[in-house]
Amino acid sequence: MTKLTPVLSAHWDEKDSFTIEAYTRHGGYAAAKKALAMDPDAVIQLVKDSGLRGRGGAGFPTGMKWGFIPQGDDKDHYLVVNADESEPGTCKDMPLLMANPHVLIEGCIIACHAIRAKHAFIYIRGEVTHIVRRLNQAIEDAYKAGHLGKGIDVVLHVGAGAYICGEETALLDSLEGFRGQPRLRPPFPAIAGLYARPTVVNNVESISSVPAIIANGAEWYQAMGTEKSKGATLYSLSGHVNNPGQFEAPLGITLREILELSGGIRTGHTLKFWTPGGSSTPIFTSEHLDVPLDYEGVSAAGSMLGTKALQIFDETTCVVRAVLRWTEFYKHESCGKCTPCREGTWWLVQLLRDLEDGKGTEADLAKLLDLCDNILGRSFCALGDGATSPITSSIKYFRDEYIAHITNGGCPFDPVASTLFVGAGA
């Protein structure tokens, strides 16, 4: 039985966990001091050795990404932290920043040192005002304490609320003051990123994982996780469960184990479907309860680990309805740059609405799948691909339920049954 391994979340239950005092009390900023005394290349090697992979969804080895930055090129380098957490279901970075913003700042110092950058930019979504305030306070405290401002500066940039700005090149455009739309690659950010300078773009959790790796060593980190997915990570459990929240565990833990550790599915109900990594990852069902939740395991089972956002839906949920909601999100958030995503999501929503309303036909189902085929892999960035995942995967596992909407002339579910307030006299 896998156990929880709180590292990032070790002290979240302390009242003052977000303060610099609490962070220092638990040994905070010692890793930065250690790293600054090391050769930058040694820091990169250590992170490479640890096996840390990007926690933003794609799982690219972090140390390798740092190693792409050309050295001795007499150019400014930048570290950009992607804190534009916007995917439906994804909710790890915001709680992390709420509870322990200093671990990110310390991670920034180490990463900047490693890639020879003087500036780190944290791009945070604009809706989370309370976290913006907390992070601003933490940055101010870090300056006061002398951790920042001595060769490394951190700037917090607040986005204006666009999902696309979580895409790294759109984020860079937005950070530069342009509309957030993905850039053509190459050139990749490592060569020409922010202001056309070599830039590393990392997720909040990736950078926050670095101080512990520096402090405890690569071997300590490697000891956790599976063969190719090392370390521990935050699994965000939400939906029809008794005890939603963040569960930090080694990579490779299964949903069955997490549910057991956390208190299980909403009492009296059974698991129907779930996402392993947010709404853009193909859904799983109860047959996937024992899939190891690491990069390879989830991929082998036909989905993606993504952001480890485990959204749990029990048998009261209409899958068509859930998928429509997600699709409406993608239509709303499509940046408009490329045809398949822009026009495709516009059309998908209309088809799904008709299906949910019982106005669809079986031919529409075929059309829907063909449309997804014309969007997946044809779009400019991954947004369009992600928009098709819930649709194709839900038809794969729940085709009968789509058909039921058609034969029933509407949705066979009582929408109230899936709500949290069911039975509360509503």
Partner: protein, 782 residues
């Protein structure tokens, strides 16, 4: 010429090998094989964007296949690349069909009323790469339509496929980023900034490259169907850039003009004046019959034989001179040049119907005629010096070429001028600020190399010593000189010898061997030997009674700073006027002969490079005759042989002259005049003509005029403070002749100077003030 070594790469596309230069995009390598991959956002002159996804193809490199189809407009060829387009890959074919279907779901089915219908890339490619039936049964996105993004460009947003060609053109080519994409998803749309319309001199190109009917020109909208138009390749008559054009005519009337493709000159662009100023041909009251002044002094309609006889008689009976405007075609100018020498026996001829000087005439003979500086010299230059020349206003394609090099390789541009212009700012140019008239010293202090180019405008003639300084700088540095006049015909007229010191082909009048060359071809016993008078001297000679007759073609006497003298001379002399419409000249003429407008005849212009820009008659059935033909007829009446009945005969004769390989006319150095002292309310006036202004050829184009720049008078912050003037306050600029009231704009200009547009609404300086550059004017807050 050095040939650049280019690495070549061989790739296989649909089973065929093609060898293309390194860096070639897959989509263009396919074109080499005749394989047309459908596309919308792709444009060979814009940076790749990969937005529309229409050009998806399957690609593998050395056996490794991309997991999904790739946009062929963004991927350069690589060794070992195998490409399968829609022709050989079912995956690519389906991907393209899928994207096409998606592009059409929100596109209105209004092709029957859309201007683009019949020449629409979306329509065409929907037929070639799409499917006949849509599977979309939902609700289309709609917008209010159309919206004006300027007075001349309309936007139908629901037709837009969001390819971003227009916005990329405006940003990357014109450096006028006045339109952008805004909103997102399917509601993304092209838009302008608040209260900032799309007032770019190049906005028409955005309309032309729009692959759907989303952007339309206000003056063409709903006027015609493309398949009802007869298209003729033509050349632009508006300036010396030399744009290749296409003129579209329906039933004898020009309905629109488009930029033509000529990679060596205008690439695929032109300016809005060239595109949208053509109605003058029909907007003005054209002269239709010859007119002869009768015994009671009235101009009355006459038959051609009657008029030709009267013209011949008048020109023969007194010493005569020739004035030909800068807009004559090369062949017509040659006709005037030959006519002056053969029929009138004089070298008194001048094409410079503007401010000019004898220093300029010598400069043209010594450094310009026959010169071969080209656009490619700008492409390769290490440094470009602008003297008396505002490229954006006075030769817009030169501006675009400079801008391209500035963007591509940070070409260094230096402008010697009194005021920093918008155009020079866009070129990121170095601004060497001088007082009007004091340019020469600044030129002399420039250091150039043999790879540098000096672009000299016609306004360089307005300050004494400038052209002498340019010549000296070019001699000492081996930099190339390019003389860029505003008018389309001036270089041709220079080469044709329509000037007092030169015969055709740059042959000096004063050179006996040169005269023999020409006399032999012309079959003349001898040619006049003395250098002729310039236009100011000709007017003065008429007023002094030394010249009694004038042959005038396409001249506006108000274009100079001697308009009083010019008008008096025209009143006094026997005047034969060749014109398309009534003018200040025809009013005073004794014989008026109507001639063909540019669209009604064939011919050519020599652009500033000296490159021939030939065109055919766009309106096929015009009965109007060219100047050349009429000059031949008058000559016959006089009893001389000009014998150029057709443009072809002129072209043949010019070709038979060959090039002059003798010595050039030497240039006498002229020194700058000293700077007048100004104080208090005195300023030195400077000005230039804006691209869009009160020019005769822009008559009747209200939509175009709507995008002209605001008429302002520019003064420096220091002088503004002294006058107590802020932006927007009225300034009264006066000379003994008159005054103008203009809105003040405080900008980067020499403290001694005030700038105003030379010929804009409310600011026609030569008419209102009688001066345009270098003169002291009085300025007070109005």
């Amino acid at each position: 010429m050095t040939t650049e070594v280019v690495d070549m790469i061989t790739v296989v596309i649909d089973g065929f090998e093609v060898n293309v230069p390194k860096g070639t995009l897959v989509i263009r390598a396919a074109e080499q094989l005749g394989i047309q991959i459908p596309r919308f956002c792709d444009h060979p002159l814009l940076d790749p964007v990969g937005a529309c996804r229409q050009c998806l193809v399957d690609i593998e490199i050395n056996g490794r296949a991309f997991p999904k189809p790739q946009a062929s407009c963004t991927i350069p060829v690589e060794p070992g690349m195998i490409v399968k387009t829609q022709l050989t890959s079912p995956v690519a074919e389906k991907a393209q069909r899928g994207v096409m279907e998606l592009l059409l779901i929100n596109h209105p089915l209004d092709c029957p009323v859309c201007d683009k219908g019949g020449e629409c890339p979306l329509q065409n490619q929907a037929m070639s790469n799409g499917q006949g039936e849509t599977r979309f049964e939902g609700v289309k996105r709609t917008f209010q339509k159309p919206i004006n993004i300027s007075s001349q460009v309309l936007l139908d947003r629901e037709r837009c496929v969001l390819c971003a060609r227009c916005t990329r053109f405006s940003e990357q080519i014109a450096s006028d980023p006045f339109i952008t994409l805004n909103e997102r998803g399917a509601l993304q749309q092209v838009g302008i900034y608040e209260n900032k319309p799309f007032e770019s001199y190049f906005s028409g190109n955005a309309v032309q490259i729009c692959p759907v009917g989303a952007l339309t020109g206000a003056s063409y909208r709903f006027r015609a169907r493309p398949f009802d138009l007869v298209s003729t390749p033509s050349a632009c008559e508006h300036c010396a850039s030399g744009c290749d054009m296409r003129t579209d005519v329906r039933r004898g009337k020009t309905l629109r003009r488009l930029a033509g493709d000529d990679a060596s000159v205008n690439e695929e662009w032109n300016c809005d004046k060239g595109r949208w100023a053509f109605k003058y041909v029909t907007a003005i009251d054209r002269l239709t019959t010859p007119l002869v002044r009768n015994a009671s002094g009235e101009l009355v309609a006459a038959s051609w034989p009657e008029a030709l006889a009267a013209a011949a008689k008048g020109l023969k009976s007194a010493k005569a001179a020739v004035l030909v405007g800068g807009r004559a075609t090369y062949e017509d100018a040659y006709g005037y040049s030959k006519f002056a020498r053969v029929a009138l026996g004089t070298n008194d001829i001048d094409f410079r119907s503007r401010l000019s000087s004898n220093e300029e005439r010598e400069f043209l003979a010594a450094h310009v005629v026959g010169s071969t500086t080209r656009y490619t010299d700008i492409d390769r230059a290490d440094h470009v010096l602008l003297v008396g020349f505002e490229p954006e206003e006075e030769s817009p394609i030169v501006f675009l070429r400079l801008n391209k090099q500035v963007r591509k390789r940070a070409l260094k541009v230096t402008a010697i001028a009194t005021k920093l212009s918008i155009g020079v700012e866009k070129l990121n140019g170095e601004f060497v600020k001088v007082a009007p008239g004091q340019e020469a010293a600044a030129i002399s202090s420039q250091s150039l190399t043999g790879k540098s180019v000096i672009l000299v405008g016609e306004r360089a003639a307005e300050s004494a010593g400038v052209l002498s300084a340019v010549a000296a700088l070019a001699n000492s540095s081996s930099a190339k000189i390019a003389w860029i006049p505003r008018r389309a015909g001036e270089r041709g007229a220079l080469e044709a010898g329509a000037i007092g010191n030169l015969l055709p082909g740059g042959r000096p009048v004063a050179d006996a061997a040169a005269r023999v060359d020409i006399a032999a071809v012309w079959g003349a016993d001898s040619l006049p030997t003395e250098n002729g008078k310039n236009s100011n001297e000709i007017y003065a000679a008429v007023n002094a009674g030394e010249i009694g007759a004038l042959l005038v073609g396409g001249v506006d006497p108000l274009d100079g700073d001697n308009s009083q003298s010019a008008l008096a001379a025209l009143e006094k002399a026997f005047v034969v006027s060749l014109e398309i419409a009534p003018s200040a000249v025809t009013q005073r003429a004794d014989v008026v002969l109507p001639v063909a407008a540019i669209t009604e005849k064939s011919g050519s212009f020599l652009n500033w490079e000296g490159r021939a820009r030939s065109f055919d008659a766009a309106v096929a059935d015009s009965l109007n005759r060219s100047d050349l033909r009429i000059l031949s007829m008058i000559a016959e009446e006089i009893g001389a042989s000009v014998n150029l009945a057709t443009v072809t005969s002129a072209i043949k004769e010019i070709a038979s002259l060959g090039k002059w390989d003798g010595a050039r006319v030497a240039m006498n150095k002229v020194s700058a005049t000293s700077q007048p002292a100004v104080s208090g309310d005195q300023f030195i006036l400077t000005s230039w003509r804006r691209l869009l202004d009160m020019g005769t050829l822009q008559k009747g184009e209200d939509n175009l005029a709507g995008t002209s720049r605001k008429t302002v008078a520019v003064i420096s912050p220091k002088r503004a403070q002294a006058l107590g003037v802020a932006d927007g306050d009225q300034l009264k600029i006066s000379t003994p002749l008159g005054y103008v009231n203009l809105s003040a704009l405080v900008e980067d200009i020499h403290d001694d100077a005030i700038w105003a547009p030379r010929n804009s609404r409310g600011s026609q300086l030569l008419i209102n003030l009688g001066v345009a550059h270098g003169a002291v004017v009085t300025v007070v807050k109005a």
